[in-house]
Symmetry: C2
Subunit: 228 residues, 2 copies
């Protein structure tokens, strides 16, 4: 049942994952699903944990920390690329299943031995994953928009309206920078570029914390937060 739902979500998007659709794919009446699951939310949790379990995880022991964290980010990006719906499901009060635990353990190991405190390790990982998820969400939305309305067609429709609002006198910076960014990326938003740019920023930001700590030390357990 979870596999069926995942397949459905991969092919037709999260909105297509209805109890009726899943049950139909299983050749069963909708209410049957409620024998195995209390409600739809729990089914989504199970879907998420299932894809977590199957994520391939590269062993980067011994590599530089930037390489290791890049691998973690890329793994998550690949996951969201294969299952875009995963980025849309609520992550707070996460599905504490075996998949999430294995994922958490593996990703923490990329931050181990860098001289960070336990809390800092969690902070850094949360920060990194939050960036990847936000980017994945943007990418997914950008793709959905692109397929929906031909993009060029949308720009043609919105262009005049934009010119009207985008008074160059009142908004000189916005018009100049907006135009430059749009032309550089060939569209309103380029998630691939945003990922490369953002990941570089994330790593640089973490560097100011990590490279202040001594590698190999047991960690500065007393650091309350990493704000300096």
């Amino acid at each position: 049942m979870v596999d069926t739902a995942i397949g459905l979500a991969d092919r037709e998007g999260l909105a297509a994952v209805t109890m009726r659709a899943v049950s139909r794919a299983l050749g069963v009446v909708p209410m049957t699903l409620y024998t195995y699951v209390p409600g739809k939310a729990e089914m989504l949790d199970l879907m998420l944990d299932a894809v977590y379990i199957r994520t391939p995880r590269a062993d980067t022991t011994g590599a530089r920390w930037r390489t290791r964290l890049t691998a973690v980010a890329d793994e998550n990006r690949a996951l969201f690329s294969a299952h875009p719906w995963a980025a849309e499901i609520s992550t707070l009060r996460p599905p504490l299943g075996p998949g999430l635990m294995a994922k958490y353990e593996h990703e923490l190991s990329a931050l181990d031995g860098l001289g960070l405190s336990d809390v800092e390790m969690d902070d850094c990982l949360t920060y990194l994953l939050s960036f990847v998820q936000a980017n994945a969400r943007e990418a997914h939305q950008a793709a959905a928009v692109a397929t929906a309305g031909d993009d060029a067609q949308w720009w043609a429709r919105v262009g005049p309206l934009l010119a009207q609002v985008l008074d160059e006198r009142r908004y000189p910076l916005a018009s100049r920078v907006g135009t430059a960014a749009g032309e550089a990326h060939g569209s309103a938003h380029d998630p691939d570029h945003a990922y490369r740019f953002g990941l570089a920023r994330v790593l640089d930001g973490l560097a100011s914390l990590i490279e202040r700590a001594e590698p190999g030390s047991p960690g500065r357990q007393l650091s309350a937060d990493g704000t300096g």
Copy 2:
């Protein structure tokens, strides 16, 4: 109509914003709304642009760039704090209204004169705003979860299950770090802490780009992306 919808969303959440609820608050039948708006999506766009317009924006001309960008981040955080639903609305193909334009112009000005190219300015702003929005979404979800299920009660229910899955032998890092983080924040996730920590990382990450450029220069227009 937009004001009514905003009030409804502020008080009862985005899920409570139904065409029927808005129309009822206006003392009118649901279909009347469709005279002014083609569909619900457009109404949400108008709501977003309306709160953008009303956002107070501090003039930080002359201050250090970290101060200016912190102000931008805090303004957005305040907006999402006052209108949590704003963080949940699709932002791709954004509502190109006067509110968004004014916001964009103002926020770009905080990045002006730092020697960044136009594209880099957009990249940096996008990166910063994406962080704030992701954090706001987490905070909103955390709050919703807290009110829903007493938190302590939830931990009591999930604790045993967690201990079972969280085999310390198999997942030593996860159990140690997870426990430390949970105890430090008093719960599973602390969005306030994540904001302070994350903003510091964001600024450090941007510093590696900004402080490489010469302040006051017209910008390195040829830099394709900021990945170094």
